[in-house]
């Protein structure tokens, strides 16, 4: 029995963790090391340069631009996403018929099925087209001038955020809906008997009981939005006007695979990792305070 145990364990663990080590752990250590090197894959020799790459970061305008854009995008898109997703999940939960509820859940999740690049291409050519696009047609219908949705540094980020909400909010609506379904119905019953209105039911029962769900959704959305990339490639293929569409992933990609400056790109990616860690730690702390209250 003991022997069988061991053989089975080794047979599963060794290949799986060889894989985990080579493709998940080693790359983390590797990138850490490379960030202290001048590394070009085409050169035969690459030398350690100490903290030069990190010093260079501090003098790099584009890096700060990319960081700023990423933070603006992440915080505004996540905030709107969470509020709207929760609102929609609550709205959907109000319908009495099961069919209606699943119909609307299906509708909001539909865009999540499509690859983001494909949806972005459609949006670029339909809604955001400056001449015959639908958004500008709408503006003109109200007597306003059409704007350049992705060609103008002032509007590019707003356009990307609107698109991202359309493409991605379904996930969170589904997760919030599952959270709402998990709240015991008798809580609402008894509160209603006490004369609580809909708004009070939401404030006193739904919102507090969704605390854990919200924390989880917030964290996952934050982490994933920090890394958004595909839609920026479509809407701002050349970083956008005045680099208004330059985000961290795009900048890391450009430095590593276009300029072949992998050492520097590694340093930028470590900076992104640090920001994500700090933001998730802060978010955890804020939420903990909330719970105690």
């Amino acid at each position: 029995m003991k022997k069988g145990n061991r053989r089975f364990l080794l047979l599963v663990l060794v290949p799986c963790f060889a894989e985990v080590f080579v493709f998940l752990v080693l790359p983390i250590i590797g990138t850490c090391l490379i960030s202290f090197m001048e590394y070009n894959p085409l050169h035969s020799e690459n030398s350690f340069v100490g903290i030069n790459n990190y010093v260079r970061l501090l003098h790099d305008q584009s890096f700060f631009k990319a960081m700023g854009n990423t933070l603006v995008f992440t915080f505004s898109a996540v905030a709107i996403n969470i509020v709207l997703a929760l609102a929609m999940a609550v709205a959907i939960s109000q319908f009495e018929s099961n069919r209606t509820r699943s119909f609307f859940r299906m509708m909001v999740f539909l865009p999540c099925i499509a690859p983001m690049v494909a949806s972005a291409v459609v949006w670029l050519r339909s809604l955001y087209e400056p001449r015959g696009g639908m958004f500008n047609a709408l503006l003109r219908a109200f007597g306003l001038d059409g704007i350049s949705w992705v060609g103008d540094a002032r509007y590019l980020m707003i356009s990307v955020i609107i698109f991202t909400l359309w493409a991605d909010i379904g996930y969170n609506v589904i997760l919030f809906s599952a959270g709402i379904d998990g709240i015991p119905g008798n809580l609402y019953e008894s509160a209603r008997l006490d004369g609580a209105g809909r708004w009070q039911l939401f404030r006193m029962i739904t919102l507090p009981l969704l605390g854990r769900t919200t924390t989880f959704i917030l964290l996952m959305t934050l982490i994933s939005y920090f890394q958004m990339f595909a839609q920026f490639q479509i809407f701002a293929p050349k970083e956008g006007p005045q680099q208004s569409g330059l985000v961290m992933t795009g900048y890391i990609y450009k430095q590593a695979f276009v300029n072949k400056e992998m050492g520097y790109a590694a340093a930028i990616s470590m900076a992104l990792f640090a920001v994500i860690l700090v933001v998730s730690a802060l978010q955890q702390r804020i939420n903990r305070v909330d719970w105690e209250y």
């Binding site: 894989e19 539909l110 982490i223």
Partner: protein, 284 residues
């Protein structure tokens, strides 16, 4: 009497609110489908018509030219094949490794277990941007650049999948596993005959989640696949659309061919999909 009145009032008020919410959600749904409708409409227009009037809903002179261009003048079937090979093999392999590792971490004791599990969870927190640089160098060195295997081999183990499956394995009743062992079943047989059927919901939702993630992935194919015939659908579309800037109908036909089949599968199996996606969140 008063309570009855009150109840009626609530029902009436409830009805009004529900009606408003219903109308709002209908509007939201319309906004959601608009780009799809527009895409389909333009995919059936001629290139000339899209240049004159792209916003007109119904094509004046419907044509399949756009679809013909995508299917026969571009390596569309290669792209489809590549996407299928990568997605199906990744999903199958990840399901196997996740369930068996989940079983292992849930039901076996061995030295270094905690350490290995923590290591796995830690890799989940590291963004792809950090690992992609070294991973690229690695893949390039072992000669897998521009090879579909570059998207399959590094994706054999999913930390999230192992985590999800372990949660479900923890809930399998002890007696079930023990009685099977007493009957003389080996660990692998227990895994196949007892564990897998018991955690079927987790397998379903992990399958949907993994499939969607890999099918829609853009970053990894962009890094590792370069020749036109080796690309996957999302990657190829971004090139296709930049090459056919002026040819709206072909671009929209390509987008439709990529989006519509998966959307139909989703609509047919929407209940399972939504349940599956919801579960990945609840256990996570």
């Amino acid at each position: 009497m008063t309570s009855n009145k009150k109840k009626k009032f609530y029902q009436k008020e409830g009805f009004r609110i529900r009606l408003i919410l219903f109308l709002v959600m209908i509007a939201v749904s319309l906004i959601i489908v608009t780009p799809y409708v527009w895409m389909l409409s333009n995919s059936f227009k001629s290139t000339k018509e899209t240049l004159v009037d792209a916003s007109h809903l119904l094509p004046k002179d419907p044509t399949l030219d756009g679809y013909r261009k995508v299917l026969f003048d571009s390596p569309f079937f290669y792209w489809l094949r590549n996407s299928l090979i990568i997605t199906v093999s990744d999903t199958v392999i990840i399901l196997f490794t996740s369930t068996i590792l989940g079983f292992l971490f849930s039901r076996f004791e061995f030295r270094g277990k905690r350490f290995l599990f923590m290591m796995l969870l830690f890799t989940m927190m590291v963004p792809a941007q950090v690992t992609m640089i070294t991973k690229f160098i690695l893949i390039d060195r072992i000669g897998l650049y521009d090879n579909l295997l570059a998207l399959i081999i590094p994706a054999i183990v999913s930390a999230f999948g192992v985590y999800l499956c372990r949660q479900y394995c923890d809930e399998i009743p002890r007696e079930l596993l023990e009685s099977a062992r007493i009957d003389g079943a080996g660990h692998f047989q227990v895994y196949i005959h007892i564990v897998l059927p018991q955690i079927r919901p987790a397998i379903g939702s992990l399958a949907i989640f993994t499939f969607l993630e890999i099918w829609n992935d853009y970053l990894n194919p962009l890094l590792y696949l370069s020749s036109t015939n080796k690309q996957t659908l999302p990657l190829a579309l971004s090139f296709f659309s930049s090459q056919h800037q002026t040819d709206l109908s072909a671009t929209m036909a390509a987008s439709a061919l990529i989006m519509i089949p998966t959307s139909i599968v989703f609509i047919v199996f929407q209940k399972q999909f939504i349940k599956g996606i919801a579960m990945t969140g609840m256990k996570g």
